[in-house]
């Protein structure tokens, strides 16, 4: 979910467990959503995207779910690995925004071996 103040939401899981990272968006006109992964000292990297005419999309070990009714997005990571430890951001592209992406504040995922 979204962060409050200076602290990122955090999620700590055991290696091999499934992870679910949540994101709420505010603009019902948003029509494209992306999940990014950011490792320490690096730029964000694309993971998976979904368009508003879909409610689910699957990639390799990742699934994105979109619930437009409650304006909620989630990223599910199957069989989480230590290399999945990172900050995860959701981003939305609002219709008519001239390709501008708006980012959430991120969630820190820590995978314990």
């Amino acid at each position: 979910g979204e962060s409050v103040g200076l602290h990122l939401p955090t999620l700590s899981v055991q290696e091999g467990d499934n992870s679910i990272i949540n994101c709420a968006y505010s603009n019902s006109a948003s029509d494209y959503f992306i999940w990014y992964k950011q490792e320490s000292g690096k730029g964000p990297q694309f993971i998976i995207d979904i368009r508003s005419n879909m409610d689910k999309r699957q990639g390799q070990r990742v699934t994105v779910l979109l619930n437009k009714t409650v304006k909620h997005l989630s990223l599910q990571i199957a069989a989480t690995q230590p290399g999945d430890s990172a900050v995860y951001f959701c981003a939305e592209n609002k219709r008519g925004s001239n390709y501008k992406l708006t980012f959430g504040k991120g969630t820190l995922l820590t995978v314990n071996p």
Binding site: I34, P44, D49, R51, N98, Y99, K100, L101, F103
Partner: protein
């Protein structure tokens, strides 16, 4: 990885001095963006460009200017650096199709003392 290079990667400058950050891409993408990343705020859009000499403001544009004289380069200038502009700056590019992911550079860590 998309061909995006940011320079410099690290810079320390004094309050009141002008600073220019460079973003160079080899993908011939039309859209380029400058974001800043601060704890608790995620990625916030400073300025973006939708073509050569075509730029527009983002949500945190005060104190920054940009220029795009050719497709491959997008420059961000802090006209008179302040301590509040200490941050990590990321450049991003997107392709010309609607609803495509943004690719990010490695970031520039700027410290204003």
């Amino acid at each position: 990885d998309a061909g995006i290079t940011q320079s410099p990667r690290h810079k320390v400058t004094e309050t009141g001095t002008p600073v220019t950050l460079r973003c160079h891409q080899t993908e011939n993408h039309r859209y380029m963006y400058w974001y800043r990343q601060d704890p608790g705020h995620g990625l916030r859009l400073i300025h973006y460009s939708y073509g050569v000499k075509d730029t527009d403001k983002g949500e945190v544009s005060d104190g920054y200017s940009v220029s795009r004289s050719k497709t491959e380069d997008f420059l961000l200038t802090l006209e008179s650096a302040t301590s509040s502009q200490t941050s990590v700056y990321f450049c991003a590019i997107t392709g010309d199709s609607m609803n495509t992911e943004a690719f990010f550079g490695q970031g520039t860590r700027l410290t204003v003392v």
